[in-house]
């Protein structure tokens, strides 16, 4: 007998519908899977067989043919397991499909339970667009599946759940006889269909573990760097912090998640799709409204940062979409890897081309980077001598290529905080206060720029910002003449100045904003900027 079920595949951030056809017919006991499966998928055969037996069903001793249609699409992953397994049950007439048309997604364990799979959100979205109204997914993926409107999503714990779902109330036939309870690791009987839970924990889906958020109240000293961070976050500008170890660079960066306004609805969905494809949602976590904050280690490979691998998975730049990518120890990153950041920084997306295909991932991220001034970290420190060889500090800074440095709109140098300030001094502002200012400035910018942050302003729009302030224009011309600014940097400066003005609530980019923005550009002096300052 022939059974047909619907499931889906994910490629890049988009799903595609796949039909699973299972035919069980008399013949030698053998199972064929056809339809351009990859190597991992042919392992499904073994998983499905064990799962069916261990879930209390009978594995038919007949000729089984499984076809994944359309045949011209390459299929990978294990999300088809469940559809194949249920298809075999239906085709071997152990259950009757009477519960309506369900699409099934999920990977089977040998004991018949279901594993979470990546990409459930885009797959369910695709199914919904194709008119599929009911979807069964692994319970751990339920939260993301329910983000899709107009689809009834049900969380499943195992093959038997799925069988019950497909059979409907009247369709169970062979089930009761052969059924025996599945014992999980915990010794408890496996649960039934998961009840729709209201309050799954909001996932810190995008926040790298080990980098706990910090409140700005805990960051003492560094008033200038704090302000630079505020400007950077308010305008979406890229920021570089240079300073000796222990100056507070990483601490400031860790405050970023608490300073940014939450994602709006559209953004949240974009981020959730990415998190889903990257397999970050598979633990029952609800995708949240918090902006992504990614902090890859400096040993990260090209594929880890930009994306790629045999499955063309998204990299850190995409995981940081609509959020922040924090690169600590910037100069320690591999040069080739860093230069690959230029495309996403410029275009807001990244194209990964491999033999396996081509994918474009979104990557509209804000880059925040930190580095030591030299290898030992104490170049320019008034108290502690730098122990690098002459010329080494210059070489160290040159590890970061000029074009990348150029894209870091704001550059601040952090000095060490004197102990006096660490122990006493004024109570620093809390994150909530700063976050409110940032949110207000972002609102102002968005309202004026048609939804865009100042960092995304076109050159012409940036120039127009200072139009009505003759003194600001004079200052700008002076700065350009002093050799501090190239044509491109004039635009960058104006974008930053626009943000400074937004933070101050000023309607126009005035003289003070221009000067303040220029003060955020230079700091590292002769080594990062002008070649000769003696």
């Amino acid at each position: 007998m022939l059974a047909t079920l619907v499931t889906a595949v994910v490629s890049g951030l988009h799903g595609a519908l796949v039909r699973v056809e299972v035919d069980v017919s008399p013949g030698l006991p053998v199972c064929h899977i056809v339809g351009l499966p990859d190597a991992a998928l042919s392992e499904a055969r073994e998983r499905v067989r064990a799962a069916i037996r261990n879930a209390g069903f009978a594995y038919p001793a007949s000729r089984i043919t499984v076809n994944l249609a359309p045949a011209d699409r390459r299929k990978h992953g294990a999300a088809y397991d469940l559809a194949i397994g249920v298809g075999i049950l239906v085709a071997s007439e152990q259950i009757r499909a009477g519960g309506g048309a369900w699409a099934l997604l999920g990977e089977l364990s040998l004991d018949g339970t279901l594993q979470a799979v990546p990409g459930v959100l885009p797959m369910v979205a695709t199914l919904a667009r194709a008119g599929q109204r009911r979807v069964g997914v692994p319970a751990a993926n339920l939260e993301e599946a329910r983000l899709v409107e107009g689809v009834e999503a049900v969380g499943l714990d195992g093959l038997d759940d799925a069988a019950r779902l497909v059979a409907g109330p009247r369709g169970r036939r062979a089930m009761s006889a052969a059924r025996r309870p599945v014992i999980g690791v915990s010794g408890l009987p496996a649960a039934g269909i998961a009840a729709p839970t209201g309050a799954a924990p909001e996932g810190r889906v995008a926040l790298v573990s080990g980098l706990e958020p910090v409140d700005l109240r805990e960051v003492r000293g560094q008033p200038f760097a704090r302000w630079a961070l505020e400007v950077a976050l308010a305008g979406g500008h890229n920021l570089l912090m240079v300073g000796p170890p222990g100056a507070g660079k990483t601490l400031l960066a860790r405050a970023i998640p608490g300073l940014l306004p939450p994602l709006d609805e559209d953004e949240a969905l974009e981020v959730a799709v990415i998190a889903s494809v990257a397999g970050l949602l598979g633990d029952g976590r609800r995708p949240g409204r918090r902006r992504p904050f990614r902090a890859p280690h400096h040993t990260a490979s090209y594929a880890a940062l930009v994306g790629g691998g045999p499955r063309l998975l998204p990299g850190e730049v995409t995981l940081a979409h609509r959020g922040t990518l924090f690169l600590d120890e910037l100069a320690e990153f591999d040069r080739g890897v860093l230069d690959a950041l230029r495309q996403p920084l410029e275009e807001g997306s990244v194209v990964i081309s491999r033999a396996a295909g081509q994918v474009r991932y979104p990557a509209r991220l804000q880059l925040v980077a930190a580095m030591n001034p030299c290898r030992c970290g104490y170049w320019g420190d008034p108290q502690r001598a730098c122990c690098c060889a002459p010329g080494d500090p210059e070489r160290y800074v040159r590890r970061v290529s000029g074009p990348l440095l150029d894209r870091l709109d704001l550059r601040v140098e952090l000095g060490r905080v004197p102990p006096r300030e660490l122990l006493g001094g004024p109570e620093p502002e809390a994150s909530a206060v700063v976050a409110a200012r940032i949110a207000l400035a972002r609102e102002r910018a968005r309202a004026r720029n048609g939804g865009r942050l100042n960092a995304d302003l076109s050159g012409a729009a940036a120039l127009a910002a200072a139009e009505s302030e003759p003194r600001a224009r004079t200052r700008l011309a002076e700065l350009a003449e002093a050799g501090a600014l190239s044509a491109r940097n004039v635009h960058r400066l104006l974008r930053v100045a626009r943000t400074v003005a937004d933070l101050a609530g000023a309607p126009h980019v005035d003289e003070a904003a221009i000067l303040a923005a220029a003060g955020l550009r230079d700091p590292a002096g002769d080594r990062l900027g002008a070649a000769d300052a003696a």
């Binding site: 200038f224 002459p390 140098e413 000095g415 000067l515 230079d522 002096g525 002769d526 000769d532």
Partner: protein, 384 residues
């Protein structure tokens, strides 16, 4: 001088391994550079070698190199032309008279720029560590600007750090400055100072070396260079030097050569100025306590154009047309150069205002940022 003798002189001096002492002995033994080259050609140099005075033989590879130089004595001259260098030898009237104090005066001084800068009637050396504190950097600039404003040629070594600050402040004040480098002109100081070098030359200064153009810098070249640096100055100011620093060496040379030596004292126990304190303790160097006192001491020694108490007309206050915020930032950096973070703390102004004020001061030429520290520059150096 006989032109062919001069050519031979330049060729012999350019031979790697022939330093000032060897050069002097060879020329004395054979009666002229041309004779040395002749002697090399007909084998007498190798046999006789030179047992004069020291009894040591000239290494054979040096003899061989002299032989090569003798075969084409014009090659050295051609190289000089390619580098656009002028040369001065002790046989030339323009050879720096201040080199008279040297035991082994360089047989040839190679240079770019104006050789007259070496014979100016008033020259002050400003030297110090390659890794200065912001305060040290600012002090070097202040001293250089001050003496340059009183007509002195500022002598230093074109190294990064204090040397660079002294040269830069001098050219900024439109003064003349001479850089004595520790390598041939093919490697004129650190790469980061190429633009500074051009500005030194554009302001009528000079860049000189006793080494032939292709000679590389090595362990010994910088200490040997220091003796020329101090010799070219009437007085030397050591601004900031840790216990192991070339500036200490320069200070000792200055005293041996009878130059006035001033040393900026530091705080006891501070490694950045440990060398300065040792110089003050172990030598008759005078402590540098202020620019007015420096003028007074120099006048008492008869150095420089200014008589004691004779002050030039006071320059207009550089802060006069600044706003309140810029003024307080300017006062803060003149008092204690520091990073932006410290300036925010010192002035109590919002970070954005401080950043803007520093930008404006930079535009006015009153401040510059080096290695994260905001330093006073230009007329602002004359305050504080």
């Amino acid at each position: 001088m006989d032109p062919s003798e001069r050519i031979a002189w330049l060729a012999l001096a350019a031979v790697h391994g022939v330093g000032p002492a060897t050069f002097g002995r060879l020329v004395a033994a054979f009666g002229g550079a041309r004779s040395v080259l002749h002697a090399a050609s007909d084998g007498r140099l190798g046999r006789a070698a030179i047992k004069v005075e020291t009894g040591r033989r000239l290494p054979t590879e040096v003899v061989d190199r002299i032989l090569v130089a003798a075969a084409a004595p014009d090659a050295a001259t051609a190289t000089l032309e390619r580098f656009g260098l002028w040369t001065l030898t002790p046989l030339d009237p323009a050879y720096p008279s201040r080199f008279g104090v040297l035991e082994a005066a360089p047989p040839v001084l190679y240079g770019w720029g104006d050789p007259a800068a070496l014979e100016d009637h008033y020259a002050v050396g400003v030297v110090g560590t390659r890794r200065p504190t912001p305060a040290g950097r600012a002090l070097a600039a202040r001293v250089a600007r001050h003496v340059a404003g009183r007509g002195a040629v500022v002598i230093s070594g074109l190294a990064i750090g204090i040397d660079g600050a002294a040269h830069a402040a001098t050219v900024e004040a439109e003064g003349r400055t001479v850089a004595v480098i520790g390598a041939g002109h093919d490697h004129p100081g650190p790469r980061a100072h190429r633009a500074l070098l051009r500005r030194i030359l554009a302001r009528g200064g000079a860049v000189v070396s006793e080494l032939a153009p292709h000679a590389p810098a090595s362990r010994g070249t910088f200490p040997r260079r220091n003796r020329l640096l101090s010799a070219l100055a009437d007085a030397v100011v050591v601004v900031e030097a840790p216990s192991r620093s070339g500036a200490i060496n320069t200070g000792h040379h200055a005293l041996e050569q009878g130059r006035a030596l001033f040393v900026a004292p530091g705080r006891p126990g501070d490694p950045a100025t440990a060398g300065c304190l040792r110089l003050l303790r172990e030598t008759p160097a005078r402590p540098f306590v202020g620019l007015a006192e420096l003028d007074e001491d120099l006048a008492a020694l008869g150095i420089g154009p200014v008589r004691a108490g004779d002050r030039p007309v006071a320059a207009p206050d550089p802060l006069v047309d600044l706003g309140a915020a810029e003024r307080s930032v300017a006062v803060a950096i003149a008092r204690a150069p520091s990073g932006l973070e410290r300036l925010v703390a010192a002035t109590g102004l919002p970070p954005g205002v401080v950043g803007g004020a520093v930008t404006l001061l930079q535009l006015r030429g009153l401040a510059r940022i080096v290695d994260g520290a905001v330093l006073p520059a230009g007329p602002l150096l004359e305050r504080g």
